[in-house]
């Protein structure tokens, strides 16, 4: 257990805080030290606890109109085709996910196109696509289930919403998309001096 050993240098602190631009990284789980010093009155059984089953997952971000896939993939006029080829359809799907050998039907079900399937052959809905991802990304999946990877919104003490992996990662090219940053803060150069502005 790591405790806070360094005593607080009060006197030099103000000056230090301004000038001291050195961050020292120490890897530790500081909770133990913290919890130890929490006054007893707070150490009662928490009245607020996060309830993991209280989670809503929003609908999968499928393109409008594309579901049900079986509208076209009816296995009659359009027969499933397991051959790797360049498709005359779905050209927005560019596979950039893991090994070259990966192909559509590793994830999409051959005969029921409305579903995905696991390695075991078990079919799953698009609403539970995280089970598919979890097969190969077990560590991320575990963190996701405990609310660490990915994102929970709603109540920290109750009902939450939870994003699917595919809300953030395009399953076909899962690298997280770069974003345009929002405006930077004003710097010293941007500050207009006004008469009597700072009193």
């Amino acid at each position: 257990m790591v405790r806070f050993l360094i005593s607080f240098e009060r006197k030099g602190d103000a000056a230090l805080g301004r000038v001291l631009l050195l961050a020292v990284i120490i890897l530790l789980a500081p909770l133990l030290g913290l919890a130890d010093e929490i006054p007893k009155s707070h150490a009662q059984p928490p009245s607020k606890s996060s309830v993991t089953q209280d989670i809503e997952v929003p609908a999968p971000p499928l393109t409008e109109g594309i579901f049900p896939c079986t509208a076209c993939h009816d296995n009659k006029t359009l027969k499933p085709n397991a051959n790797r080829r360049s498709l005359g359809m779905h050209d927005e799907v560019q596979l950039r996910h893991g090994p070259e050998s990966r192909w559509c039907l590793d994830c999409h079900d051959m005969t029921d196109r409305n579903k995905l399937h696991l390695v075991s052959g078990e079919r799953i809905e698009f609403t539970t696509s995280y089970l598919l991802c979890g097969q190969c990304h077990g560590d991320k999946f575990r963190d996701w289930r405990s609310g660490i990877h990915g994102k929970r919104t709603g109540r920290w003490d109750g009902k939450k919403q939870y994003l699917l992996c595919v809300h953030c990662h395009n399953p076909h090219a899962p690298r997280f998309q770069a974003l345009q940053p929002m405006p930077k803060p004003k710097g010293p150069g941007d500050i207009k001096l006004r008469r009597g502005g700072a009193r």
């Binding site: 806070f4 360094i6 005593s7 607080f8 009060r10 602190d13 103000a14 230090l16 805080g17 301004r18 001291l20 631009l21 050195l22 961050a23 020292v24 990284i25 120490i26 890897l27 530790l28 789980a29 500081p30 909770l31 913290l34 919890a35 010093e37 929490i38 707070h42 009662q44 928490p46 009245s47 607020k48 606890s49 996060s50 993991t52 963190d143 405990s146 609310g147 660490i148 994102k151 929970r152 919104t153 709603g154 109540r155 920290w156 003490d157 953030c168 997280f176 770069a178 974003l179 345009q180 940053p181 929002m182 405006p183 930077k184 803060p185 710097g187 006004r194 502005g197 700072a198 009193r199």
Partner: protein, 309 residues
């Protein structure tokens, strides 16, 4: 927590008589004295005579809230609710930020400004995102808050948002000469804007640059005013007072996540009750590599940085 009764700050403004004051019996004399001290006539008598928030009785709090809501209504032409939700039992808030996932998009900075009614001009922002070199690690000498490429993240960089670390031993609280800032039972360090005298000692004492001063009269567009406020949080501030992140006290004491957690597109921001062993925050502390910013100063932050990879 603060044994001495804080000194009544001498405000720079004169009270003007307000007829509904319960304390009007003090009126003429106090107004004369106060009037003699300065002279800008912006404060009401009630405001001038208001005590430190921590010393107010329930009835006095109601009175203060009613006055504030009336003043905000007049100023913004909108009904503003000023809440006074106390700390929840058995709750100490903690925050964790995943440095391996933050991409520096600044969505949090701007969501915070909106949620917490920060002044747009002069610009006040409670979160500052530092772009750092991967080669240097967490090194403030290689930190740039003014990055502005077309797209983030940029190659070779990582991003470290900094806001109030809600220290367990907050140097800012220690140096406040009037007791206008203190730590609540749930760990949130708050400011009583009506008690703050604007000396800015707290800003000098804060090693994280997390406190901000209203150098000018704050401006915020009425249509963007967030009317769900807390006395110790996002209610509109006045010129001459210090403000800072409160973990969105107006949201989190109602069980909601802070605005920065809700907006983050990468899910890098985690928040919860440190006392709840099943909370996300406890999972982070128990399972991830965690560090404290400027740990050597022994401020004991309840804001943790971690590596989620």
């Amino acid at each position: 927590m603060n044994p001495e009764k804080p000194l009544k700050p001498i405000s720079e403004c004169t009270p003007c008589a307000s007829s509904d004051s319960r304390r009007l019996f003090l009126g003429t004399a106090a107004a004369a004295v106060a009037g003699a001290l300065t002279g800008c006539g912006k404060l009401s008598m009630d405001e001038f005579l208001q005590h430190n928030f921590r010393e107010l009785s329930k009835a006095e709090i109601q009175h203060v809230i009613a006055r504030l809501e009336k003043e905000y209504q007049e100023k913004y032409g909108k009904a503003v609710q000023v809440g006074v939700d106390p700390a929840l039992q058995g709750v100490i808030f903690g925050y964790a930020l995943d440095l391996s996932r933050c991409i520096g998009c600044r969505r949090c900075v701007h969501a915070c400004v909106k949620e917490n009614n920060q002044s747009r001009e002069p610009e006040v922002q409670w979160i500052r995102v530092l772009q750092m070199d991967k080669e240097e690690g967490v090194n403030i000498h290689h930190a740039d808050p003014y990055y502005a490429p077309d797209r983030v993240p940029e190659e070779g960089h990582f991003y470290m948002p900094v806001q109030c670390q809600q220290c367990k031993k907050p140097p800012c609280v220690k140096v406040c000469p009037v007791g206008a800032t203190w730590q609540e039972k749930d760990g949130i360090v708050v400011v009583d804007y009506n008690w703050c005298i604007g000396c800015r000692y707290c800003m000098a004492a804060c090693p994280y640059g997390a406190r901000h001063f209203n150098w000018g009269e704050p401006t915020l567009p009425v249509e963007e005013l967030n009317t769900a406020t807390h006395y110790l949080g996002n209610r509109p501030r006045q010129k001459g007072v210090v403000e800072k992140c409160t973990f969105c006290i107006q949201r989190t004491r109602k069980g909601l996540y802070p605005a920065c957690v809700e907006i983050c597109p990468t899910g890098s921001r985690k928040f919860g009750n440190l006392m709840d062993p099943k909370s996300e925050i406890r999972y982070v502390l128990e399972n991830k590599r965690v560090f404290l910013f400027k740990e050597d100063l022994n401020t004991q932050p309840k804001f943790f940085y971690f590596y989620g990879v």
